[in-house]
Symmetry: C2
Subunit: 509 residues, 2 copies
């Protein structure tokens, strides 16, 4: 009898074998994903350092040969930097990262930097260079490769330099096979949209032909940085509670509940424990397995918990949203909306929506969709995204809107945990709570558009009326004069003016 042969593979090996799920599907996607992952790391690092990001991205031919499909990618930032001992693992080990927190950040999977370096290695077999400093007296320079089967970085070289200028930041450089020219439109679109939602960032990009693209910051005001939060009782499972029990120093349930969960006051902890029937004085470490299960189930049933606070979130804000759209699309009309904080599975989130009409927006038979999550643009797999489905299934006729109008819809979701469906962060899962917020957000801006459109229609009607009057009134005046046998025609200017005023008034609304 044949039996199955089992083996264990490392996380790096898993993602090496299944690059598709991390967005490294082909040479064109790979170069896009590499740039994107490193830029997002850089933006996150600058926000941690609380400095307006200065990011420099350069793609050159690896051997100076324009016919080669091997490129050298370099990304520099002025972010918080990485402590020396973590540098090799941050870029040479899968599932090692700084993103495993309940906190709004662009990175989620702690995988991006390593995937980029790994892809470079398996296509070029060349090491990656990383230079970083946290602003201390030293700068560290590493040359590394990845032992994929063991999921460990191999340090080929390590140098320590003196940091005279107290520079902080990270520089990553490595070679990879790619298809830059196929990826180019998406890369430029990505950088452009990133600039729109991060208006406090400088992003410079030099492409292999030496073309220089610069997205200059329009403000140095940074949004308040997102904060780490405690888990909300609605969103925890048995595993989370077990881990909290393991690490807690509290010896009674009341303090345990108050300390380790989001927005539980003494009063609520008190009333909740009464609801569960678990004694306030009980030592959490003494809870049996089925008591933990019960605790978790009760958390989902108890209705008095306060909703997650959104203070840990950093939305764009209506003003910024509007500014970005006006800058990029120069529309005739725009409306924005920031929804109130909501929650799914215990994770707080905020949806922001915008709609724009006319101006530079092309008519292409479909609305143009801009999707953002935690301030990063999502460019691939639009049809799988929850936003796409919402827009597609909405009854737009109700808003006097048809698909062939020049309309752009923008949706930004920020959350401590974006429910991505792929590790490549291409699109967002259909969580009903998120879907509802998006729907209501789009409805709100759609209503504003409707008002604009029906007013404009009214104005158009008035204009037509006026044009009819101004065409025929002089003739009528002339005929009437002749009919009456008079010589001088009556003054029709005042009459026309009164018609004009109606249109004019409407125009100004």
């Amino acid at each position: 009898m044949t039996s199955q042969a089992f083996e264990e593979i490392s996380p790096a090996d898993f993602f090496y074998r299944n690059r598709d799920i991390a967005g490294f599907t082909n040479p064109s996607r790979a170069i896009f994903a590499s740039i994107r992952e490193l830029v997002e790391n850089s933006l996150d690092a600058a926000e941690i350092a609380m400095v307006p990001p200065d990011i420099y991205v350069r793609v050159t031919y690896s051997d100076g040969d324009p016919d080669s499909n091997v490129y050298k990618l370099r990304v520099e930032d002025n972010g918080s930097g990485i402590t020396s001992r973590h540098i090799p693992s941050a870029f040479g080990q899968a599932l090692f990262g700084s993103k495993y927190k309940l906190k709004q950040s662009r990175g989620t999977f702690g995988l991006g930097g390593t995937m980029a370096v790994l892809y470079g290695q398996i296509t070029t077999h060349k090491p990656a260079y990383i230079v970083s400093s946290t602003g201390s007296t030293k700068v560290y320079k590493y040359r590394i490769m990845i032992d994929i089967q063991r999921n460990k970085p191999i340090i080929l070289e390590r140098k320590v330099l003196i940091n005279k200028e107290q520079w902080h930041g990270t520089i990553v450089e490595f070679s990879l096979e790619g298809d830059y020219f196929r990826a180019m439109p998406k890369i430029l679109e990505y950088l452009k949209q990133t600039a729109v939602v991060n208006p406090y960032a400088n992003v410079a990009f030099i492409d292999p032909k030496g073309r220089f693209y610069k997205f200059t910051r329009v403000t140095t005001m940074m949004p308040s940085p997102p904060k780490e939060t405690l888990p909300h009782p609605y969103g925890v499972d048995v595993e989370t509670v077990k881990r909290l029990i393991q690490m807690t120093s509290h010896r009674n349930m009341l303090d345990f509940m108050r300390t380790h969960f989001h927005r539980i006051s003494e009063k609520i902890a008190h009333s909740f424990l009464e609801f569960t029937g678990i004694a306030q004085t009980k030592n959490p470490k003494k809870l049996g397995p089925q008591e933990i299960v019960k605790l978790v189930q009760m958390m989902k049933r108890y209705e008095e918990f306060r909703p997650p606070s959104a203070t840990c979130l950093s939305p764009l804000g209506e003003e910024l949203l509007k500014a970005g759209i006006l800058k990029e699309l120069k529309p005739e009309f725009t409306a924005v909306c920031q929804r109130r904080p909501a929650t799914y599975a215990g994770h707080p989130f905020i949806v922001e929506t915008a709609i724009a009409y006319g101006g530079d927006i092309p008519r292409k038979g479909d609305f143009i969709l801009y999707r953002f999550a935690n301030r990063i643009p999502l460019l691939y797999d639009e049809a799988s995204d929850v936003t796409f489905r919402v827009v597609k299934t909405m009854n737009w006729r109700r808003y006097k809107v048809s698909q062939d109008m020049p309309i752009a819809v923008l949706v930004h979701i920020c959350s401590t945990k974006i429910p991505y469906k792929t590790v490549g962060k291409e699109f967002i899962a259909d969580r009903p709570e998120v879907k509802r917020e998006i729907l209501n957000g789009i409805r709100e801006v759609a209503r504003k558009l409707q008002r604009f459109l029906s007013k404009r229609e009214h104005v158009e009607r008035e204009k037509r009326r006026l044009s009819v009057f101004s065409k025929y009134l002089p003739k009528i005046a002339r005929f009437s004069t002749k009919l009456a046998g008079k010589e001088t025609e009556p003054n029709i200017e005042r009459l026309l003016e009164s018609v004009n005023t109606v249109g004019g008034k409407e125009k100004n609304i």
Copy 2:
């Protein structure tokens, strides 16, 4: 200056935190995904044992309480079984599996069983039971939990029983939170479609209300089991070649190329090495990093490699495909097509397509799409699948077909590596080679449908003609008789018959 805090997480922890990417998004998806992953493991195991699968699935209320959302899931099979020492890890460790081979199998990520057990544990905190035997003298029974943070199984109990009947197979039982009644339609559809493409399998299912569903095999003839293959030179990267060099016992490049790659004869190895400029006698272990890169690049450029052989693949076959469709849809017309083996990134694949018209197929304004990959039905995220895009963008008017006709399209892809985009195996990435095959396959069956439809149209026309004739001919005969002043009408039967024959002939085509 704030710096980033780094941490390492285990693979189990990664998938625990990111359940969305493995298809465990909500209680409804979770129960569907659990059943699906275990059934697919069972089908694979039976094929390894080369016995027609007998699979038994049972979902009951965990505590007999119909108001509870906690279910007990049990899946039994008669497959190859798992050797005792591997049982705990097979279900209690992420990235430990038997699916990491170049071989057509339903499982791909080696993650399904563990994810199901893990989900059960984090929602119910209860252990999982696994009973298995490879048909030896013993049956092993384990009770395990998962240490998620360390990615290790915790063995709570281990029993060894005497295997008098030489039983082989695996039984898995565990509790999980779920929403069975929301998932029910998808679960039944999944089992039904699975039965269609695995007509040699018995699948029995008992749901929480005690309802019994049975899908009985219609044949005991098993397809020849898929074989493991060597990597094809077009599809390898530097990492793969490095690993092969590490493990090879060959001391020269000629033998190295012949032994470790797919379909490289001595002659091709000879000519290829000449093409690369690497000496045949060179010891592969002495290749420098840049020589390995060159070797890989040359493999992609060399045009004389034979295409991957499809002997390692196990497609459905046109007959089986047709039988499945006739059974399920009872269509008026059906056409099937098996494309010739093709390859993407060195992985062989075969596309099979079918189209069906009329019969039980409803008119719903859109075609019904059936998607299969390595004999498993794909039910979620249709709009993201490459097949959906192909069907949507095809010019159906060319085939005289419109979206509101009762049409079903079926696509099956089998490959040693299905390019899934999510770990949840919901949909397939847009690989251009795969897309092209699907397009050509659908075109072929669409052409056959077109011929059928235009013939039917012709028949309809003839029928109408005949009906006109048979209506008016007797009247004309009568009038003519009267006009001629005769008594007996002429015999019009022969005339009508000649008209009829034209229609009849067409009908039989």
